[in-house]
């Protein structure tokens, strides 16, 4: 009965992501909707505030492309793979333009999102206090964090952070039905709270399945469909990140990006090849196979490690 929300990444980004929006970019080192991210870059969206607890090289690409004015996060880096050079160029040298970052911690970002999801206006945390993140604010000023005495008489002062309710969020999950009831397994990362906190959600998935498949295992659903405005089918949509049960991390590709993005020119060349030079995810995958070979592509494919089934009967 419900209307299908299935559309292409191009349509979803054109329709729902506007210049100046606060956008929750879902995924924690995984489950990143690269199809949506690259489309945002191709459509040259401007003045975005991007937020998530921790960002990796996908944020670096968005920053380099000039889409981003502001970041709300605790981390922009790629762990043992090393620093992100577009982020550093923007923060240190204003290339392509100066950006601002509102620095939180991973947990305090999650506290803001849990609060946002549940309609709780603010949350006291043990984090932040005593750090210079309490002193400096990029643009939120006094509304970034308050120091407040525990009203229940413990004598302790806590850092209190406000709920976060982004205009829109997007993430890559394993599967969804056409109404946007989507399911994610493995590491959930910032989800489900990040998505629940958003006013609207675009979900990109490995597979669109029937409502019946979703209903067979409803505990895996992250978000009821009513908040989802677009469902995009994008196999390997998270590449070079992983999607549990579908494909592994492509470490070589991430390393290649980090190496090439050391210089502005290298970054541009990489982007021209892998983002601006392809029309969509299908062309991207085709180019990947042409460049690295089918054998490499197939080596990313997940092996079978079945969860087994449980009974939902009564």
């Amino acid at each position: 009965m419900k209307v299908s929300k299935v559309m292409t990444a191009k349509e979803a980004v054109a329709k729902f992501i506007g210049d100046g929006m606060t956008v929750l970019v879902g995924g924690f080192f995984h489950a990143i909707a690269y199809d949506i991210t690259h489309e945002i870059m191709r459509q040259k969206k401007k003045h975005l505030t991007i937020c998530t607890p921790s960002f990796n090289e996908h944020a670096d690409q968005m920053i380099g492309s000039g889409c981003v004015d502001r970041i709300v996060s605790s981390y922009v880096w790629m762990e043992v793979f090393g620093p992100l050079y577009s982020f550093r160029r923007a923060m240190e040298k204003g290339i392509p333009h100066k950006i601002e970052m509102e620095d939180y911690t991973n947990f305090s970002m999650m506290a803001r999102l849990v609060a946002g999801a549940l309609g709780i206006p603010y949350v006291p945390v043990h984090s932040l206090k005593g750090s210079d993140m309490m002193k400096y604010s990029a643009w939120m000023g006094d509304n970034k964090v308050k120091l407040m005495k525990d009203p229940f008489g413990s004598g302790v002062e806590h850092a209190v952070v406000p709920a976060l309710n982004p205009d829109i969020g997007y993430i890559h999950a394993q599967r969804s039905d056409e109404e946007g009831n989507f399911q994610l397994w493995g590491i959930t990362g910032d989800a489900p709270w990040s998505m629940r906190a958003c006013k609207q959600v675009i979900v990109s998935v490995e597979e669109i399945v029937s409502r019946e498949v979703i209903g067979r295992d409803p505990n895996r659903t992250v978000l009821p469909g009513y908040k989802v405005v677009a469902v995009v089918e994008a196999p390997y949509g998270s590449h070079p990140k992983n999607s549990q049960g579908y494909y592994n991390v492509d470490r070589d590709f991430i390393f290649k990006y980090i190496q090439e993005s050391r210089t502005e020119e290298g970054w541009k060349k990489f982007m021209d090849e892998w983002v601006y030079g392809v029309a969509d995810r299908t062309e991207y995958l085709k180019k990947y196979i042409d460049t690295f070979g089918m054998k490499k592509f197939m080596s990313l494919k997940a092996k079978d490690m079945s969860s087994g089934s449980v009974n939902y009967g009564f």
């Binding site: 080192f29 605790s74 762990e79 206090k129 993140m133 493995g186 991390v249």
Partner: protein
């Protein structure tokens, strides 16, 4: 056989030193790289019953190879529980965990860590990653183990930015803040093992790594580093531990490659 493992790299020495800091049965939140290798080594030797937790929400994992990131998909199959950041860091914030690992670009004599910037916060000379879970781990874990590159500009009288409070200005300053966690108990650097005075909370040199002297460490520290009366050379890794590191935990040499 044993001869084969009597040499060791600096990275291996540090991994072994980190492993020694973990006691059996402890709940440990571990990051990638050396901390992870150290925790795995502990689990394979004297501490088989530790509970390994990653901020990505993977709890009590049995990965079939060493993960590359805290969200490596290898962590998931076989884990006792898999959630997200709220599960991984919620237990830290609640004060449930014994040990956490920290690192950073700078540390001062009271164990305060900087993972944000070198220079001015608003116009940084170098911008780093930011806190991630570091500040949360520093606030919540009963104690933390810090792993650092030992250079004069990194062991600094004053850090350019406090990302994760150690003992703040020392003495009872941290205690007054009412954190669930107790603060750093040790720094495993590329030159030495350093601990904190129980009252003043000032960092002191406990042992210098083989091949170095007290003076070497002091010369590479940005303040007048206090030295333990019983300062000695850092204990050398037993060959069996080196064997486990090389053959079981890092067979391709990705994490321990540096001499």
């Amino acid at each position: 056989m044993a001869d084969k493992y009597t040499d060791f790299t600096l990275q291996e020495l540090m991994a072994v030193a980190a492993a020694r800091e973990i006691q059996d049965g402890e709940k440990v939140i571990i990051g990638t790289g050396l901390p992870l290798i150290g925790a795995f080594l502990a689990q394979k030797t004297h501490a088989p019953n530790i509970v390994a937790i990653y901020e990505s929400g993977a709890i009590d994992c049995k990965p079939i190879f060493t993960p590359f990131s805290v969200a490596d998909p290898v962590l998931v199959p076989g884990a006792a529980m898999q959630g997200g950041l709220v599960e991984g860091l919620g237990v830290v914030h609640a004060g449930d965990l014994d040990v956490g690992f920290l690192g950073g670009a700078q540390i001062d004599k009271y164990g305060n860590l900087n993972a944000h910037v070198i220079g001015d916060y608003r116009n940084p000379k170098v911008r780093f990653a930011g806190s991630g879970g570091s500040n949360d781990i520093g606030a919540g874990c009963k104690r933390t183990i810090v792993m650092m590159l030992h250079q004069k500009q990194r062991f600094s009288e004053k850090v350019d930015f406090i990302t994760t409070p150690g003992y703040l200005g020392g003495g009872k300053e941290r205690e007054k803040m009412g954190f669930p966690g107790g603060g750093p108990s040790v720094v495993v650097s590329t030159m030495a093992i350093l601990r904190f005075h129980p009252e003043t909370k000032e960092m002191y040199l406990a042992s210098y790594h083989p091949g170095l002297t007290v003076e070497d460490v002091k010369a590479n520290t940005g303040w007048d580093l206090k030295v333990a009366p019983d300062v000695k050379e850092t204990e050398r890794p037993a060959p069996e531990l080196i064997r486990i590191l090389r053959e079981e935990l890092d067979p391709t040499g990705i994490f321990l490659k540096k001499k």
